[in-house]
């Protein structure tokens, strides 16, 4: 295993096009830096993110996964963000069964103009995954 400092985790961020994806754009427009190893996948709604997508991400070698959706009660599709939250919860169980720390996946909500929040979340998860080390299934 590489030294902790040298480990640059692969993190996938599923971002709702209605909010989080735009928040990532806002972060860029405001030149708020965040780790470049966060890779954004744009989805129409956090509710489009399937348990399977996240499991596959780990199969493909992700060290951590973020699901980023709209604030509660602000989902354009009413329940999409709530569903995503429930799925992340279910996923934690599925991952734990496999032996992957549930801490590696988390759901956050944010608004399109929250560039700082996006960057803060990205930094936070990056630090956390660095702490946890590479995914045990890599």
């Amino acid at each position: 295993m590489k030294a902790k400092g040298a480990f640059s985790p692969d993190i996938i961020a599923f971002c709702c096009a209605q909010s989080a994806y735009q928040a990532a754009d806002t972060a860029g427009s405001m030149r708020i830096p965040y780790p470049e190893n966060i890779r954004v996948i744009r989805v129409p709604c956090a509710g489009r993110v399937d348990v399977l997508h996240i499991l596959r991400a780990f199969e493909k070698g992700a060290d951590g996964v973020l699901v980023l959706g709209c604030h509660e009660e602000a989902c354009r599709h009413l329940s999409g963000n709530v569903r995503a939250k429930n799925r992340v919860q279910k996923l934690n169980t599925l991952l734990q069964e496999v032996g992957i720390d549930g801490e590696r996946v988390e759901m956050f909500t944010l608004a399109p103009n929250q560039g700082f929040r996006f960057a803060r979340i990205a930094n936070e998860i990056n630090e956390r995954i660095k702490e946890l080390g590479p995914s045990p299934v890599k």
């Binding site: 348990v51 399977l52 499991l55 596959r56 780990f58 199969e59 599925l94 069964e97 496999v98 032996g99 992957i100 045990p136 299934v137």
Partner: protein, 218 residues
Amino acid sequence: MIVAERKPLEDIKEMIAGYKKILILGCGTCVTICWAGGEKEVAVLSSQLRLASKKNGNELEILEDTIERQCEKELVEALKDKVQQVEVVLSMGCGAGVQTIAEIFPDTPVYPALNTKFVGMPEGEGIWVETCRTCGDCFLDKTGGICPIVRCAKGLLNGPCGGTNSGKCEVDPEKDCAWTLIYRRLEQQGRLDTMRKYYPPRNFQAVIRPGKVETLQA
């Protein structure tokens, strides 16, 4: 429909330990509808097992398939080529499915990935409740369409026990007392006389286990 639930991964891992090539077989009927063993759940289990084997450094190759009904011999027979490629079949069907596969492919071990729970119906999104005990001697005509054999914790036929607690069951305060429901329903229908009748002990030979129903050929 038949309601099932997936076994914990730990149990499944134990069953298939040591095998290098398996077929995970879903069933497209009841267990798909109750989110336990349809194509989606096959994919989830498959992904979990791949991750687990990767983590433990085991070699594991997984084939996935979902057929219309695992309890039909002809439909299972059609899987011959696929089954020949693997060491074991992990069935995501109900107990009937597992046994049909085992019968058609006696040389191949078949393992159940699900626990078959009961015959029931959906109550809310992702929630299923038992509504039929398959007793073989339907009693619903006497109880306003509410089955006391399933819904009364003690399966009583002649009225409530003393454990009715404000219309709830003493065993589980979340559950309604079936006999309170039956009383209200029969009262609503003006059929309380049905409840006043004495019903003799149940005939447990209504289904001689294992059950069999024979109907004249059409």
